[in-house]
């Protein structure tokens, strides 16, 4: 007597659409990724162990080099016009914070006027950009 055996169903994860999915994700990343171009002077940031991550989106980026020259989004700017420029920028777009990238060897008398200049009528959070501790180059101790 012949017993008709039931057709065995093979269990397997269908992976036919994996390539399509990968391509779609690839297209997404290719269209949304952009290479970040760092404008401004070359700096060595100070190190800190208790820094917090802050997004650079909607932020104004200021650079202060070792000589004390100030740059607004890569363009040289006078410290005396800082408050005015910030007020104008706020009219154009939402400025959530100002990020200060200053060289570790910048003298304090070049930093202090920048902080004073940022004290507008409406306070804006300021972030002093740092490197995670241990990555900075130790400064040469003056004898």
């Amino acid at each position: 007597m012949r017993i008709q055996s039931r057709a065995r169903v093979r269990a397997g994860i269908p992976s036919a659409s994996m390539a399509d999915l990968a391509l779609l994700l690839l297209i997404f990343f290719m269209t949304t990724t952009y290479f970040q171009v760092e404008r401004g002077p070359t700096l060595t940031l100070p190190g800190a162990s208790h820094g917090e991550e802050r997004s650079r989106e909607d932020a104004v980026v200021l650079h202060v080099d070792a000589g004390g020259s100030l740059f607004w989004e890569g363009r040289p700017v006078a410290v005396t016009t800082l408050a005015e420029q910030l007020a104008e920028e706020r009219k154009k777009r939402a400025v959530r914070r100002v990020m200060i990238y200053a060289d570790r060897t910048t003298p304090f008398d070049k930093i202090y006027p920048v902080l004073q200049g940022l004290r507008g009528e409406i306070p804006v959070p300021v972030v002093l950009a740092v490197e995670p501790i241990g990555t900075g180059v130790p400064i040469k101790e003056e004898s």
Partner: protein
Amino acid sequence: MTERRRRVRLDRAGVNVRHSRLTEIQLTSTSDVAFLLLIYFLATAVFVSQLGLPLVLPPAGERPTTVSDSEVVRLVLDSEGNLTAGGEPLALAELAGWARERETEEAGRIYLLDVDAGCFYVHLVTALDALRSASVERISFRQGRSA
């Protein structure tokens, strides 16, 4: 034109039994390439963020407040980056522990950093970082005279 085409068809439909090679692009490895590119983008993509010490500056028109000496912890950073805390020399590396002790005794005091004009920015950041680690929230700094 029509005759010529017909002739061509006839020619093709003739005895030429040779297999014509299929001309098509090999797409088998496309998914592999796509996956590799995807992994590359996933591995290299970074969110645009920066590590920093956040500060809240007082508004421009705000009048200075008068506080008593007992509420203020005075710290002095000279042009060489040497720290003096409450009149006593203190290593910057020890500031966090020192401030933590003060905060345990009495929390909420104002730490006034008197920074010399010629002091390197790195020393200010180190001091601010140490105070942050000791959970000091009220920090004030001003520019001192250069030696």
